[in-house]
Amino acid sequence: MSKTVKLRKGLNIRLVGGASKVKTDANVPKTISFRPDDFHGMIPKVLVQEGEQVKIGDIIFQDKYSDTIKYASPVNGTLKSIVRGAKRKIMEIIISCDQDQAPVEASAIDLASLSNEEVKTKMLAAGLWPFVRQRPLDVVADPSNAPKAIFISAFDSSPLGPDFDFVLKEKGKEFQMGLDAISKLTEGTVHLTVNGTVTENTIFSEAKGVQVNSITGKHPAGNVGTQIHHIDPINKGEFVWTINAQDVALIGHYFLTGQYCAKKTIALTGSEVKNPQYIETISGANVSEILNGQIASDNVRVISGNVLTGTKIDKDGHLGFYHNQITIIPEGDQLKFFLTKGWLGPGFDKFSNSRLFPTFLLGKKEFTLDTNLNGEERAFVVTGELEKVFPFDILPMQLVKAAITNDIDGMENLGIYEVAPEDFALCEYVCTSKIDIQDKIRQGLDLIAEECM
């Protein structure tokens, strides 16, 4: 029953600074943090006092309105501070790490003897649930829903994205165990979608108990949203859960050992990184030590995640919960004279999906792109450009317009239930009018969450 999908639309943005396949272990970070904003719409209720000791796997906070969803500490340490913003909103929960990171003794969990409900309860209690996300809305899954399918993407096609084949090379056992556990969460199918052009790693292609699909094409082929749309699309009233491939292995690790573990391998990438490579660290880790001596120039932007969907962080900020990558690119806050580097220049330094720039002449050249907007925000003028990079049977411009105008009926009809902001990242990239499309889609989803869910 496995499906093969070929995409014709999409865009691979070729950037300088792909990670070479070397893995180094980072030291224990000074601090780790949780940013509640990583879990969109979640309001945390912190269960630990500032200054209190925590062990790996201890519950730090839970969702205020859905208190079965708990968040566990990935380290031994002390709750250092709860950073609050306007209206006392919790911005960040910071834990300082001990040198001793030995996990608490525990024994393996016999998955076969557990009922489906028990697996769910175990995962919730252990703080593994936040790894499970749901569509529609692209938020942490509501455990009371019954998903019709669970989707896992076995590759990351985003610019400079980490190679999961490499990252999970030695985690085959954990990954398979994770799949076994996850398949107990749904009556439907668990879909694992592999990159159709690469067949190196057998932990994906020979995974058992799941439906292995393959997809070929440019980015966003690796986005789970694209895969859902082409394999088993979401209709109104249906739910699909999604999990990052690396997080599947973390879930597997828990069932194999009984220990919570949030160690993951991230890719350190981008044109301003001296040695782009893979680094093993902990979810939420402070990046200052990782970046120490690695930043090639002064005026840079550090991004947790990839350049299309990541979060801007400080040089001593923290890795995001769902991110498998750090990208560093130059800031573009300079004036650019129109004939040399600006809007009327030859533009050999710009990567464009349109033929208004000579990108199409430059073969496989990799580009160093900065954060300049390359223009100013305008009303929608150009049509047809979003469609070129949006491999869905959804009209992107019409859906974005419905989201901007708070047209709930329009959004429902045009397919808002199937999409997440990340699916629109390329649309946002190519938009001539420089409209922040991902943000508009997120606002539309918020409205839908409020009115229709």
């Binding site: 004036l335 045009l414 001539t432």
Partner: protein, 407 residues
């Protein structure tokens, strides 16, 4: 460029919030962003953005119009000399210098007036709304002179431009919000407000009044329209009753003669060749929609064939002639493709173009009161575009609902 940058950095505080010249900020921004791509960086969403922006898109459209403009200048000069000498067979490729100068003397003031009036109004609205000038008018401002008859009084161009920019665009909210094509709105305004200056035999050549008696400067379309009346005329000579006017018309000029564009007409519309160079630029860069241009030509050709099938004095015109005469090619390449007023969905563009081409030829042939049907056709399709899109969008929605039923 360091020194320019220093000037900008010095000026910036004066125009920014709290500065002395704060309310002039939109004007300042408009000029500064021409000289420099501003230092705005991404705040939300994707951290990197495509190099393309509206300025580059619009300048490409202007570039694509340059061949038509250059040919238009020379052609205008040529026909002015024809009118002055009264010799219809004046060689085209002679006295180039004089023709260019004469052409420039006519076309340049049109461009200056169009830009001066249009940009002034745009700046007033930009100041009131507090946003920098949007680029849309840069294209409209050159389109308007290109679709004017050479002999149109300058004040009319000014009035038409003002009407088009205010009523056609700004009251809807500015660039990107208009329903009708700006340039065609200007032309339609003149067409209905001052019909004598916009149609008939007298307007297509500059200096007509000073001309010798009995000389007519009608466009080929004017001649063709006359075939539907008892007084058929071909290039100023009445056609004898009982002879086949269409045969004489096709015998006098082949499709290729008209393709090169040596005929009287609006400034930029005559040379299909020059327009196709522009089309090539638009299509190669992807700024113009291939679907619209191709289906517009296809629609016109198809309607020509259908009319041939019916038969009649004008209806018999071979279909290929329709594509190279009058404003058909210009409309298809530069007017119908305006992304703001055209259909926005892929399938919608095909339908829009096809219907646009068909309606243009229908009006042209069946209603000789409007020798040029392209303008009315595109304006009509501009109004219809949202309806076309509506049905395309409904089809997409139905597909999605069907999926639920199938499951």
């Amino acid at each position: 460029m360091k020194f320019l940058e220093n000037i900008v950095n010095k000026m910036e505080p004066k125009f920014s919030k709290g500065g002395k010249l704060e309310k002039w900020n939109p004007v300042y921004e408009s000029f500064i962003t021409l000289a420099f791509t501003p230092k705005h960086t991404t705040k939300l969403g994707s951290h990197i953005r495509d190099g393309v922006d509206l300025k580059r898109t619009m300048i490409t459209v202007i570039l694509a119009m340059v061949p038509a403009l250059l040919f238009g200048i020379y052609n205008t000069g040529h026909w002015e000399m024809v009118a002055a000498s009264g010799d219809l067979n004046l060689p085209f490729w002679a006295d180039q210098g004089e023709k260019i100068m004469k052409g420039l003397a006519i076309v340049l003031p049109l461009i200056v007036v169009s830009y001066a009036v249009g940009l002034t109004i745009e700046f007033i609205f930009a100041l009131r709304r507090g946003h920098p000038l949007h680029e849309g008018y840069l294209v409209s401002g050159i389109l308007i002179p290109l679709i004017m008859p050479a002999d149109v009084p300058l004040w009319m161009v000014g009035v038409a431009t003002a009407f088009a920019v205010i009523i056609g665009k700004e009251i809807f909210g500015g660039t990107g919000m208009n329903i009708l094509n700006i340039a065609l709105t200007a032309r339609a305004f003149l067409f209905f407000a001052y019909p004598t200056s916009m149609s008939g035999d007298k307007v297509w050549m500059a200096g007509e009044e000073a001309n010798v008696d009995g000389f007519s400067g009608a466009t080929p379309l004017g001649d063709l329209a006359s075939f539907m009346t008892p007084d058929a005329v071909l290039q100023g000579t009445p056609i004898e009753a009982g002879t086949n006017a269409m045969e004489q018309f096709t015998a006098s000029h082949s499709v290729m003669d008209y393709f090169w564009g040596i005929m009287p007409g609006s400034v930029g519309e005559t040379s299909t060749f020059a327009i196709l160079i522009g089309a090539a630029i638009l299509l190669f860069t992807g700024v113009g929609s291939f679907r619209i241009i191709a289906s517009f030509f296809a629609g016109g050709f198809l309607m020509g064939l259908i009319l041939n099938g019916i038969g009649g004095p004008y209806l018999d015109l071979p279909s290929a002639y329709h594509l190279v005469l009058g404003g058909f090619a210009f409309g298809a390449v530069f007017m119908a493709t305006d992304p703001v007023t055209a259909a926005q969905t892929g399938v919608g563009k095909l339908i829009y173009g096809l219907l646009g081409g068909m309606v243009a030829i229908t009006i042209r042939v069946l209603n000789p009161a409007y020798a040029e049907g392209v303008m009315l056709s595109i304006l009509f399709m501009n109004v219809m575009a949202p309806i076309i899109d509506h049905y395309v969008i409904q089809a997409n929605i139905k597909r999605r609902l069907k999926r639920v039923k199938a499951a």
